[in-house]
């Protein structure tokens, strides 16, 4: 039998373990090489690229109408918001004024997507720390949102509903009743979420004081979204650089100062309630009118550079289009929130236990296609 030295240890006798690319808690094909001293983590090194499709290169050969749908495949849990960001960037280049109805529909869809994404995250996080039941409870509510999406957009996950100038199809007549039913249903269920997971003493012990990220580090590592807001950084694009109708809405930017997994957890839990309130404010106030602005059949962005940012469920998603005036972008850069958040993982996980690594990854809400692009 081989001795331990031959099977992968460092000079200090630390154990090197591959977590992933196929591992139950990496939620995809993330590959982490972790160095362990007993149960304690000494180093985490992410190896990326298992589903790198070079979407940025792909987009260079797609027209401005076509490239939007590809971005659903990046952060598939907030595909609406990704599409929205791309559509906004094209509109900025073409100076298209989006009709008010389309704006409201877009915001509604964004918030529903955010809710669905956070629900899945909640279930997956609970599963990571070992409770399997919340996963199914989360999917029960997510299913309602998916059905609403399916009815209006025609698909459940990669909707491709946003087009430059508005949305593809008008809202389905069942949309408003469906969303209202969902709101009443979810309001009671979100309290159950707290009962089942948030208040649980085991869960709190697993999350509190684990994976702390200070405010300075969060900024330096470029963290955005709930990850940074859990460390006390104001970074909600909806508040800092309001787009669409967010400026006229009443909602709070959730800031927690703990910086640990529990703070990030609470940010997302509270954000779900904020999203609910945004949807409530808008659902009865959808203005009448066009759902799409008149656009040319072939879109050509003027020569120049265009950057838009949008708040996805994971953080700030940036679209950077460099146009040479042709039918296709000269270069596109997608600033994905997960990529920057992941870069802080090593800093956060060092010194904690293996079980904590799983909890930290869960609290970062990583979506691997978003990181790999």
């Amino acid at each position: 039998m081989k001795n331990v030295e031959e099977i992968g240890t460092t000079e200090q006798g630390e154990l090197i373990i591959n977590v992933g690319p196929q591992h139950p808690s990496t939620h995809g094909v993330l590959h982490l090489v972790i160095t362990l001293d007993g149960e304690t983590i000494r180093n985490v090194e992410p190896h990326l690229g298992y589903i790198h499709r070079s979407i940025e290169k792909m987009c260079e050969s797609l027209s401005y109408r076509q490239f939007i749908y590809v971005t659903s495949r990046m952060d598939y849990l907030s595909s609406h918001i990704n599409n929205h960001g791309c559509a906004m960037c094209v509109e900025k280049g073409l100076q298209i004024e989006v009709p008010p109805r389309a704006k409201v529909i877009r915001v509604l869809m964004d918030e529903l997507t955010r809710l669905a994404s956070h629900q899945l995250w909640w279930g997956a996080l609970a599963m990571d720390v070992g409770a399997l039941t919340p996963f199914f409870h989360a999917f029960r509510e997510r299913e309602m949102i998916n059905s609403i999406m399916e009815e209006t957009c025609g698909a459940r996950l990669t909707m491709n509903y946003m087009v430059p100038g508005g949305v593809m199809i008008d809202l389905h007549p069942n949309f408003q009743p469906g969303v209202k039913e969902f709101i009443t249903h979810f309001k009671s269920k979100i309290d159950e979420y707290d009962e089942l997971v948030t208040d649980n003493v085991i869960f709190q012990n697993r999350m509190k004081g684990v994976g702390t990220l200070s405010k300075e580090d969060a900024i330096s590592y470029g963290c955005t979204g709930p990850t940074a807001r859990g460390s006390g950084v104001r970074c909600d694009v909806r508040k800092l650089f309001p787009y669409e109708v967010y400026a006229g809405l009443r909602f709070d930017e959730i800031i927690e100062t703990g910086g640990d997994c529990f703070a990030r957890y609470m940010v997302r839990m509270k954000e779900m309630r904020q999203s609910l309130s945004i949807i409530e404010q808008l659902i009865d106030n959808i203005p009448e009118g066009d759902f799409q602005a008149k656009t040319k059949a072939v879109l050509k962005l003027p020569k120049g550079e265009f950057y838009t940012k949008i708040e996805t469920a994971r953080g700030e998603f940036g679209v950077y289009i460099i146009s040479e005036g042709g039918m296709t972008p000269y270069r596109i850069k997608f600033r994905s929130p997960g990529f920057s958040n992941l870069s802080a993982l090593n800093h956060m996980a060092r010194g904690y236990k293996i079980g904590d690594l799983v909890a930290i990854m869960g609290s970062l809400d990583l979506v691997i296609p978003d990181i790999d692009r």
């Binding site: 797609l62 109408r65 076509q66 490239f67 749908y69 590809v70 039941t133 029960r140 299913e143 399916e150 009815e151 209006t152 957009c153 025609g154 698909a155 990669t158 491709n160 087009v163 593809m168 199809i169 389905h172 159950e192 009962e195 089942l196 997971v197 208040d199 649980n200 003493v201 085991i202 059949a297």
Partner: protein, 158 residues
């Protein structure tokens, strides 16, 4: 003081655990809450919304006529080269040559159901169908010809 905190800690912890157990206990006893859909059995009750995007189909009326002019707008709109339109030249009664559709080739295996082709079609010749059970035993079966054999363009569609 330490002992008091120690004991109250234990009681709070047990209380929070019991709260969770009450919830799972509730679902254990209330079978009406079950949301499972027994999929292959409930095909009859399964109502997919009319907008659901399953695959691209071409609409044919009772005279086996469609509305496709072979303009290739869908082919250009498609991001994945899913659609290939082969055109031919028909001779109109006036003796003029006119471009018409010969074969509408649709590669279902490449399609991402993005609906851009349907949006692009000027004559509403194609639409999205609600079928979703697309599995076949051979990949070549996924390449489909959407216009039916012997079909021709409807009168008056330009």
């Amino acid at each position: 003081m330490f002992l008091k905190k120690y004991i109250s800690d234990i009681f709070n912890a047990v209380g929070s655990l019991l709260k969770g157990m009450r919830l799972t206990g509730f679902y254990f006893t209330h079978h009406k809450e079950i949301i499972t859909q027994q999929y292959p059995d409930n095909r009859e009750q399964l109502n997919l919304p009319e907008r659901f995007r399953g695959e691209v189909v071409m609409l044919h009326d009772e005279n086996n006529e469609h509305a496709c002019t072979g303009c290739t707008a869908c082919e250009l709109a498609c991001p994945n080269a899913t659609i290939k339109i082969i055109t031919k030249f028909d001779v109109t009664p006036e003796g003029k040559k006119k471009k018409a559709l010969d074969t509408f080739v649709y590669h279902l295996e490449l399609c991402t159901m993005c609906n851009l082709c349907v949006e692009a079609c000027p004559t509403d010749a194609i639409k999205m169908a609600q079928t979703f059970e697309h599995s076949v035993y051979d990949r070549s079966q996924l390449t489909k010809k959407l216009n039916r054999p012997g079909s021709k363009i409807r009168e008056g569609v330009e």
